[in-house]
């Protein structure tokens, strides 16, 4: 006598379950597509909006890096008594030697008591908070400054009374083009260049820049002041900035004197505070659409169970237990939401890619969120399938078989 039990290996059981669910789900393909559409839209909304947010963020970060996330300002620090500790003269060289450092731009301390005016007609009491900066050769290159008009101070003109204006200075003095003259410390200087706005070095926007050679020659009594370094702009390889900050401080003053090292713009904060509102919106739309999608799956499964009472009766007669029937319909519902979730990810990623392409941004997706969104969709499907499946499991074989 054969004694048979329903003890199949797990793999076989799962294969049977998936196969049966597949048959059920693909039997009426148009209905399956419609029922899983809600889930697809929910997942797509989330994936698309979080992807667009991520692309925005990637674009923003790329822009920040270009501006000066990798630009550090090394300046004299203060000792315990609040006295400024001057940077040693060798600092630019030692810093330039450090790995990861690409360029060093040096500004000297400006001669004291200098006032800047558009011309001699402006009352001397009407100072306008413009600063004078003294640059060593190549300093503007290190900052990656660009000229709106004109050019910089070079070997050909470094011994002449010429000046480069920051964007804000040009505006306040009303200087529109190179060739104008301005009055610095009662001396006429020719304007040879006007800089574009420098978000990476904002204090230079309101500074008039003159060359070191001219300054040293013109203020022989202040040579000591002028030779002291007021600030060094150190451009490093992208991404290395944080790790070499400490090294810069040491290289700038080997004897251990206090040195101030700052990121030129406070971009590290900007990096972490990116726009989360789009992601939140996507999450909200996604959750609502998933809920609606779950209901449409539940609704379809109830209809399916009613329509397939004959099949349920048959399967019970063939030896399916109530829990076999329940699992079959829950798996079928889960499969619907799996299809929906996959379609949603594809649609959402496609939409995010389209938007990123149209905006000229790099495509970025929230990769960790994709499996989570998909898992949430499948979970919704399982929950939606529970009630119809339980109804199906509760049918007695004779009830189910009677109704055709």
């Amino acid at each position: 006598m054969r004694k048979s039990v329903m003890r199949k290996p797990w793999r076989t059981r799962i294969a049977d379950l998936l196969h049966t669910a597949w048959i059920g789900a693909t039997g009426r393909i148009s209905r399956t597509v419609l029922a899983s559409l809600g889930i697809a839209l929910g997942v797509a909304a989330y994936v698309a909006l979080s992807g667009i947010a991520a692309s925005n963020q990637a674009a923003l970060l790329a822009q920040l890096d270009a501006l000066g996330a990798n630009l550090q300002i090394v300046a004299p620090g203060q000792d315990a008594a609040g006295q400024t500790v001057p940077l040693p003269a060798y600092a630019p060289e030692t810093i330039a030697r450090q790995p990861g450092v690409e360029q060093v731009g040096v500004f000297d301390a400006a001669p004291s008591g200098v006032q800047i005016f558009k011309n001699e007609l402006v009352p001397k009491s009407n100072g306008n908070a413009l600063a004078l900066a003294v640059m060593r050769p190549g300093a503007l290159d290190a900052i990656d400054a660009s000229f709106a008009q004109g050019h910089g101070i070079d070997q050909a003109n470094q011994h002449l009374p010429v000046a480069v204006l920051g964007s804000e200075v040009a505006y306040r003095l009303g200087v529109n083009e190179p060739g104008d003259r301005i009055l610095i410390d009662n001396e006429w200087y020719g304007v040879i260049g006007i800089l574009n706005s420098l978000p990476q070095a904002e204090n230079l926007n309101s500074a008039v820049i003159i060359g070191e050679s001219w300054a040293l020659a013109h203020y022989p009594d202040q040579q000591a002041t002028i030779s002291a370094i007021s600030a060094m702009y150190v451009r490093t390889k992208p991404g290395d900035a944080e790790s070499i900050r400490r090294m810069l401080a040491h290289a700038a003053n080997l004897t251990g004197g206090n040195v101030s090292v700052n990121a030129s713009a406070d971009l590290s904060k900007a990096r972490s505070t990116t726009d989360d509102s789009l992601t939140a919106l996507g999450l909200m739309i996604g959750v609502i659409a998933l809920a609606v999608g779950g209901m449409s799956i539940a609704n379809m499964m109830i209809v399916t169970v009613m329509e397939r009472r004959g099949e349920i009766g048959l399967r019970r007669a063939l030896g399916a237990t109530p829990s076999n029937i329940r699992m079959q319909f829950v798996t079928e519902a889960a499969m619907l939401s799996m299809f929906g979730g996959l379609a949603g990810i594809l649609i959402g990623a496609g939409a995010a890619a389209g938007v990123a392409f149209a905006a000229g941004q790099p495509l970025a997706l929230d990769w960790q969120a994709l499996p989570l969104a998909w898992g949430a969709a499948v979970l919704v499907g399982i929950l939606a399938g529970l009630y119809p499946a339980t109804r199906a499991a509760r049918l007695t074989p004779t009830e189910a078989l009677r109704s055709e």
């Binding site: 048979s4 039990v5 329903m6 049977d16 030896g319 237990t321 076999n324 074989p397």
Partner: protein, 232 residues
């Protein structure tokens, strides 16, 4: 009585009527079905044939009395063990075929073994053999809608035969078919004797019933044995 497969001991079945009182559809019945026995149950519609068949097939439980399968009280088995019993040892054939419309004949037959412990490959081999046995070896991949009524019923018989059951229950298997096709179907069912399977067929067609050595008659819930062939 050592070869008794199924026994009914004073089994009744009642259903709640419209006014809430219980309606006894099947009056106390005593019956023994032996191994390899071939039985036709005949009677007018509404006489309780299908109710009796459902209980014999363990699809429904008696209101009172004891149904034994292989000596064991079926009511005491519990839903799960009854399902296992049906999966492994009982075959069913229905008037409306009950094939799954969206899959092939082969898949339909394989469903007959889905709830057993057989691995998929073996189920496949057995299903092919069963379809060949009912003469549908060339139509394995046809869907039910591509088959005639007689062919669909043959798929259903293959689905019952494939598990090599102890017993096959057929509820009006020829009811939806013309006479010739119906007799061909009965031929196939009677052929199950090869496997020493018992066969219980419910029918209202006397020419079909006449082909069975043992016939039971039901009228108004009372089961009577008809002996001999003279009533056919």
């Amino acid at each position: 009585m050592t070869d008794a497969l199924l026994t009914l001991e004073n089994v009744t079945k009642s259903f709640p009527g419209k006014d809430g009182s219980m309606l006894e559809i099947l009056h106390p019945a005593n019956l023994t079905i032996g191994r390899g026995e071939r039985i036709a149950i005949i009677g007018p519609s509404g006489s309780g044939k299908s109710t009796l068949l459902s209980m014999l097939g363990t699809l429904d439980m008696p209101t009172s009395g004891i149904l034994r399968y292989d000596g064991e009280n079926v009511a005491a088995m519990g839903e799960r063990r009854r399902s296992i019993l049906r999966a492994a040892r009982i075959g069913f054939v229905f008037q409306q075929f009950h094939l799954i419309a969206t899959v092939s004949a082969l898949e339909n037959v394989m469903v007959g073994l889905q709830y057993t412990d057989l691995p998929r490959r073996q189920r496949h081999e057995r299903a092919v053999a069963a379809l060949e046995r009912v003469g549908l070896g060339g139509r394995l991949n046809h869907r039910p809608s591509q088959l005639s009524g007689g062919e669909q019923q043959r798929v259903a018989i293959a689905r019952a035969l494939v598990k090599q059951p102890d017993i096959i229950f057929a509820d009006e298997p020829t009811g939806a078919l013309d006479t010739d096709t119906g007799h061909a179907i009965i031929d196939l069912l009677l052929d199950a004797e090869r496997d020493n399977a018992s066969l219980v067929v419910v029918t209202h067609d006397m020419t079909v019933a006449a082909r069975f050595p043992r016939r039971l008659h039901i009228r108004d819930g009372v089961v009577t044995e008809i002996t001999g062939d003279d009533h056919a």
